[in-house]
Amino acid sequence: MKKYNTPLIDDLEKGPWPSFVTEMKKAAKNNEMANDALGHLEKCYSTKVGYWKHGGIVGVLGYGGGVIGRYSELGEEFPGVAHFHTVRLNQPSGFFYTSKALKEICDIWDKYGSGLTNMHGSTGDVVLLGCRTESLEAVFAEYSSRGWDLGSSGSALRTPSCCVGPARCEWANYDTLGLNYALTQEFQDEMHRPSFSYKFKFKLSGCACDCVASLARSDMSIIGTWKGNIVIDQAEVKNYAKNGMDINAEIVNMCPTQCISYDGKEMKIDNAECNRCMHCIAKMTKALKPSGEKGATICIGSKAPIVVGSLLSWVIVPFIKLEPPYTELKDLIRKIWDWWDENAKPRERIGEVIEMKGMRSFLEYIGVPPMPQQIKEPRKDPFMFYTEDDIASFKTKEAEEKKTGKYKF
């Protein structure tokens, strides 16, 4: 095996934080591809440019995603990275594993690939980095026969992912892992055979802490919430105070709706005014607990800046109950995709299409009424459309008022 001199990246083996260079060297000990990847990376560090080409048409028969094609411009100098495709393996919900399952993944990968991985890619998938085109069918056969399918890429439903939720978090308002699994299974076709205008992502968080950043990076953000009161355990409140928490400064004054009061003995919450931001609960988890109906808020549209600026997801459905078999949610998703499919130009994410066509068109199609929970504030300009139906309904309402003698605004 060729020995590369790698002084620049060697420097990244120093210091307390675990080093990816050490990892690459570990893999390079008995893997030619990983070894060439090291030399290749050193070259990037010395010239300050990358040498990866724009991918290529690679994949497994019948699927349109799950493999990211990658070739180097320097294939002759570094033959081990001439082909260096990524295989995306669909992760289990919540990234839980047994050692047996993980070792099986490793053994197959060592046989066919570079021995390098990302645990995990930012999409959520197990990312297996670096494999040749002619190995792809074998890799797929080995994994799929043992119960592991590919994740997604391209203009398709991307691999859904979720927070740790009810498996190890007291704040989960719905079963994020269960719903994640159910959606992934329900939409296998949409994941593996790209039929959309562009990518579409689901990310599932069990509460407003949003540990998977769904609000910032998924076309459909499903964020857990509740409708009842916050139950207070006054004895635990006392304990927090005794242990040094300044409840007035840290909790009462930081509540965004100013709905908490505390007289040094007892804590009170005006639940009707709470906007469920999670601050007090997250800081006093032993003392405070949501109660009542549990479910989620559905938000749509977030994306990174390309092309005309980033978006955060917008609230569409303020509250939905989420219980197996999740029929209402699945129907809603299909309607959303129908509308998107009908209206999107190539490479338009759903948030961009909503901006172009208007929220009204979108909401009417999917059958969601307008609600003040969907907006931060009403529009500021008077340039709005009135349909004949709108006017007719205003007139009907007024006729009704004339009859009852009572205004209804």
Binding site: H54, G55, I57, G59, L61, G62, Y63, G64, G65, G69, T133, E134, E137, S153, G154, S155, A156, R193, P194, S195, S197, Y198, D341, P346, R347
Partner: protein, 82 residues
């Protein structure tokens, strides 16, 4: 129409666009539906059948996925021709 005949038509449709326009699944389904009046789900199924055996393939470029006629190189790699 027989599935085989429909698949030949789909193939001709994709061939006609080759080098001119990258077709998405939807373009093919809508195009065939307009040309032959055949139900979109039927077209989709026939097209998927072709992709499963390598007569057509999914491709990716320009930031989006498309459906194309596979190259000889691809077919050889998949062991579909020698």
């Amino acid at each position: 129409m027989e599935t085989a005949e429909l698949q030949d038509k789909i193939f001709a449709f994709v061939q006609a666009a080759q080098g001119k326009k990258k077709l998405k699944e939807k373009d093919i389904i809508n195009g065939m539906n307009a040309e032959t009046g055949i139900d979109k789900d039927v077209v989709k199924k026939a097209m998927r059948g072709m992709i499963d055996v390598g007569r057509l393939m999914y491709s990716y470029g320009g930031g989006a996925s498309s459906v194309e006629i596979p190259s000889e190189e691809y077919l050889r790699e998949k062991g579909l021709i020698k």
